[in-house]
């Protein structure tokens, strides 16, 4: 059933189907006016100057002081200006310059053609496919190209945020201050967490989903290819805004933690604005992708692909996208309120003017608790795919697995205040929130037990993806159980805001999310690149990561319960030895990532060519060539059964037209399959 079609043959095939050749690239002066990097080169500086001029003109017209402008003049007194005056400029820049960039690169200019009455450019998919590495740096509407763009971009931010963790561990290796000052340290952990959450875990799942979901449901692309490209290009913008917070004068980035609690965040230097604005772009990106996933999953499933035949990865992304669409506007709102308090002098969170300090936390966590599931559910999906394929068994209790995802989705909205048991919120709210929090253990438990039952009587192949998926199950159990401790109000009173929480969150997001991300990347690497990764390096990578991950994070449970608060650059000398051990382990853990990156880069260039279906999997993405043809399927596949029918002879998930048959007997009616 697998096709052996090479990519050259595929181009010929697509030509038959219709236009696929990219439009001729513009020549001469038009290279500077057509969408692309050359247009960015002049449009972005122009937008920057125009924005600056507009803000200054407004301030002059309104009779406000313009010292923000003066501080650009190098007069030797640079650092002594009141930098707060730069705030309106920074807000204007981080709002308008990115829009100009998006329009200039060609990801957000189609509406301008319509407005100005020029001929519009219908999306004819002519830009699909990447023909050279350069195409990955251009706006492209092909979900497979966008998926890879997402994964590679997020890996960059993963490495950047990981390096910040290394600096933190260097500082924490010994009590006292060694490498950074207090503000530097606060900046490091704040940016580390923010990049990991908003620029790595959430979008890397969106990237994997982007590549895989249309293939899995038998669709030629996502429902809204242009929106898809746009949501990708918002991501580097968000990341660069956040990273550039290190560059603002009296910088040290934003240093109020990724939670950015008011009123500390309002009191912070201007670097904090970069967090508030960066989150808006990352959030917008994530909402657009989620909408795209929802519409794609609901409307573009192949014939026969009922909801009860969807692979669990698709179910997981369906639940995640629903969470994103409902919850993300809340974090956007919370950061807008902070920005308004700073720039417009509103008083949402100023207690002396009737503001409500605890109110910030309610809004923030109403997003940020569901965000934990946004960062976990796609991982559940990946684990289900990988475990079923490598255990050669149907996933145990498929329907309950899907339903428990929905149970987590619904319960996930009713637990946010468990982050606030000691915050001073209404005391009565603690008990109901404790009950809903602990209830989430039930659907989560169902998932864990079902994965274990899937292993039972399987024939397990421990390839790298399977190692990471099983590593995920065991580490996630530890993270889940420490979550029970934190969910119980009395224990949380003692353990909250300590290293116990640091341990818990890393067991969930590193041992949980990141392990499934590694599993997913190894698993789909052959499909994405058409080449196999190096299995031996992959295995070494897993064991190094698994061992040093536990050495790094398990002792933190003890540190926290014994009395080490989190977010401190200095600590009681009696915790010195253990912190040194943790730091050494964390350096090895960091170094193991080099192995992973080396494996990915070298295998992408020189790995063994991958067959269409190296894992003998049943789901649809493995039934086409690696990498898949430009429009995924020559003919829409017909889905006829479960995606996990391993162990049943000749069981089929879907029927695809055999290429060989088609060329041999072109007159054979394919409709017979439908």
């Amino acid at each position: 059933m697998s096709t052996s079609v090479g990519s050259h043959d595929e181009l010929g095939r697509a030509a038959e189907l219709g236009s696929h050749e990219p439009p001729a690239r513009p020549q001469g002066i038009r290279r500077w006016t057509a969408g692309g990097w050359l247009r960015v080169l002049w449009v972005v500086p122009l937008a920057f100057l125009a924005t600056t001029a507009a803000v200054i003109a407004c301030r002059v017209a309104m009779g406000l002081d313009t010292r923000g402008w003066d501080s650009f003049v190098p007069n030797g007194d640079f650092f002594h200006f009141n930098l707060a005056d730069l705030q309106p400029l920074i807000v204007a820049w981080t709002t308008l310059v990115p829009l100009a960039f998006l329009a200039a690169i060609g990801g957000f200019d189609y509406w301008a053609y319509w407005i100005s009455g020029r001929p519009q450019r219908p999306e004819d998919h002519s830009g699909h496919g990447a023909r050279s590495w350069r195409d990955y740096f251009r706006v492209n509407t092909d979900h497979k190209v966008i998926g890879i763009q997402y994964v590679v971009t997020t890996m960059f931010f993963f490495v950047a945020a990981g390096l910040m963790a290394m600096f933190m561990r260097a500082e924490l290796a010994r009590p006292g201050m060694q490498f950074v000052d207090n503000n530097g340290f606060n900046g490091l952990f704040s940016v580390h967490a923010t990049l990991m959450i908003f620029l790595f875990i959430i979008p890397v799942f969106a990237g994997l989903g982007n590549f895989v979901i249309p293939l899995m449901i038998g669709a030629p692309d996502m429902a809204f290819p242009r929106l898809n490209a746009l949501s990708y290009w918002l991501l580097p913008i968000a990341g660069l805004i956040m990273l550039s917070s290190f560059l603002v004068p009296d910088g040290h980035a934003f240093a109020a933690g990724w939670t950015n609690y008011a009123p500390l965040s309002i009191q912070q230097p201007i670097g904090n604005l970069m967090f508030q604005m960066g989150v808006q772009w990352a959030g917008a990106s994530s909402i657009m992708t989620a909408l795209n996933f929802l519409v794609t999953i609901i409307t573009m499933r192949a014939p026969g692909m009922t909801f009860w035949r969807l692979p669990l990865l698709v179910w997981a992304n369906f639940a995640t996208s629903t969470l994103v669409v409902i919850a993300t506007p809340f974090v956007a709102g919370s950061q807008f309120f902070i920005m308004f308090d700073r720039v417009l002098h509103t008083n949402f969170f100023d207690p002396t003017q009737g503001g409500d300090v605890v109110g910030y936390q309610h809004i923030f966590w109403f997003y940020s608790h569901p965000a934990v599931y946004i960062m976990m559910l796609p991982g559940f999906g990946i684990a289900s795919e990988v475990i079923s394929v490598f255990a050669r068994k149907p996933i145990f209790g498929y329907r309950l697995m899907a339903l428990s995802l929905l149970a987590i989705l619904i319960l996930g909205f009713s637990v946010w205040a468990h982050h606030m048991f000691v915050s001073g919120m209404a005391a009565w709210l603690r008990i109901p929130m404790m009950i809903t929090t602990l209830l989430i253990a039930v659907p989560t438990g169902i998932k864990v037990f079902s994965w274990l039952a899937t292993l039972w009587e399987g024939r397990i192949h421990f390839k790298t993806p399977m190692l990471f998926a099983s590593g995920f199950v065991s580490m996630f159990v530890i993270g889940g159980l420490s979550g029970i401790f934190l969910g119980s109000v009395p224990i949380d009173i003692h353990a909250s805001d300590t290293y116990f929480v640091v341990a818990h969150i890393h067991y969930v997001l590193f041992g949980g999310s990141l392990f499934t991300i590694f599993a997913g990347i190894y698993y789909w690497f052959p499909k994405m690149t058409g080449r196999m990764y190096d299995e031996r390096l992959g295995q070494i990578h897993f064991w190094l990561t698994f061992v040093t991950f536990n050495l790094t994070f398990f002792p933190m449970h003890w540190l926290g319960l014994r009395g080490m608060p989190r977010r401190v650059s200095d600590y009681d000398p009696s915790f010195g030895t253990l912190n040194m051990i943790i730091s050494i382990a964390s350096f090895v853990l960091g170094a193991s990532t080099i192995l992973f990156l080396y494996n990915m880069i070298v295998s992408w260039r020189r790995g063994e060519p991958a067959p269409g279906n190296p894992w003998r999997a049943l789901t649809l993405e493995w039934q086409v060539a690696s990498p898949p043809p430009i429009f995924n399927f020559d003919e829409i596949p017909q889905v006829v059964g479960s995606p996990y029918a391993y162990g049943t002879r000749d069981a089929r998930h879907a029927v695809l037209r055999e290429r060989e048959t088609e060329t041999a007997q072109p007159a054979e009616p394919v409709e017979a399959l439908h």
Binding site: F79, G176, D181, N182, N183, N186, A256, Y261, L264, Q267, P351, G355, V357, V358, R392, K393, P394, F396, G397, V422, S423, G424, I431, M434, L438, L439, V442, I446, V448, F449, A453, W456, E457, G458, R459, I460, F462, S470, V477, I478, L481, I484, F485, S488, V489, P490, I491, I493, H494, S496, D497, T498, W558, L561, R562, P565, Y571, Y646, G647, T648
Partner: protein, 332 residues
């Protein structure tokens, strides 16, 4: 598989009990929280043992030989098992919820007539005031009598802080604009560290103070001393000898938490190094820097970090002594 489960349980039980996970308890609230902690630990060790045993056994037993092309058994599910592993966790979490709620309500029980201590936090210091000593007298340390249930009434002046004494297992954010409460019944005399656990800015890691628990008779004596001290402070001329270095390093002034001063042996890095910035400065300058820190900010530092209420917190005799001490200390 039973063997694997037994071994895992024993190993986990040893890890859970042989290692001292919690600091010594020094309050009735801590005893209650510890009981919940151990109940949850027993349940979690049990669950983890089952999971670990099944995984280890499955990995060992069902590993496919190389070049194996067979599939596993086509088991799609089992309604009975699925009911069991829905029902048992449900029962366990209901038990944990009920038991946690019970111990929580008991831990927060407070007699109708109980002493209250007002706790005020600010970047980066704690101050405490006792209604019986008058509201305008604020102290740098918390002193409580043993065996009495006391309510701490917390608030914050600038940003959110959090009050934590690990031996008491009590923690509560101090929030600007509202009052929050802690109930604690100390059961052991001694000195305990008060740790700020909510990120509050540059000096967060250094924001520590201390709590002393005294016997009932010592506590009464201490209260009397404070009353006399308050009267003495009200009459400046009678101010006795003040130990300026103790104010600098101890929790009364708390200066050393943030400032480096070679003479006092402090190495704080939140604020400017006093050996450098006070070099050659007049006593007037030093005085102004203490009572009105924003008047002149050392290059590279930010305003509003240092507390601005030392004039209220310290007596004028104490401030004068501190100024004299600092002027002398940086000359060396």
């Amino acid at each position: 598989m039973g063997l694997v489960a037994a071994v895992t349980t024993v190993v986990l039980a040893v890890v859970a009990t042989a290692i001292k996970w919690l600091p010594d308890s020094a309050a009735t609230q801590a005893d209650r929280i510890d009981r919940v902690y151990w109940a949850v630990t027993i349940i979690c060790v049990g669950i983890f043992a089952v999971v670990a045993a099944v995984s280890v056994y499955a990995v060992w037993k069902f590993r496919a030989p190389p070049d194996d092309w067979e599939d596993g058994s086509p088991i799609h599910g089992h309604a009975g098992l699925e009911k069991v592993w829905t029902a048992i966790p449900l029962a366990l979490v209901i038990f944990i919820s009920v038991y946690s709620s019970y111990e929580l309500s008991k831990a927060e029980d407070v007699p109708l007539d109980h002493p209250v201590v007002h706790v005020t936090s600010q970047q980066f210091a704690w101050s405490f005031s006792y209604p019986e000593l008058g509201d305008d007298m604020s102290l740098g340390e918390l002193v409580l009598p043993i065996g009495e249930t006391v309510e701490l009434d917390l608030t914050a002046k600038d940003v959110i802080h959090s009050f934590w004494v690990r031996e008491w297992r009590v923690k509560q954010d101090a929030v600007p604009g509202i009052h929050t409460h802690i109930v604690v019944t100390p059961t052991k005399t001694g000195t305990y560290e008060i740790i700020c656990t909510e990120l509050c800015g540059l000096g967060h890691a250094a924001m520590r103070s201390q709590a002393r628990v005294l016997s009932a008779s010592e506590y009464r004596k201490w209260i009397e001393q404070q009353k006399q001290g308050a009267q003495a402070a009200a009459m400046p001329s009678t101010g006795g000898k003040v130990d300026a270095e103790a104010i600098f390093t101890g929790s009364t002034g708390g200066c050393g938490n943030c400032h480096t001063l070679a003479e006092a042996g402090t190495k704080g890095a939140v604020g400017p190094d006093l050996d450098k910035v006070l070099q050659g400065k007049s006593a007037d300058f030093v005085h102004e820097s203490i009572v009105d820190p924003n008047a002149e900010i050392a290059p590279g530092y930010q305003p509003n970090v240092m507390p601005q209420d030392f004039e209220q917190k310290l007596s004028s005799a104490q401030i004068d002594a501190l100024v004299a001490y600092l002027v002398k200390a940086v000359k060396k």
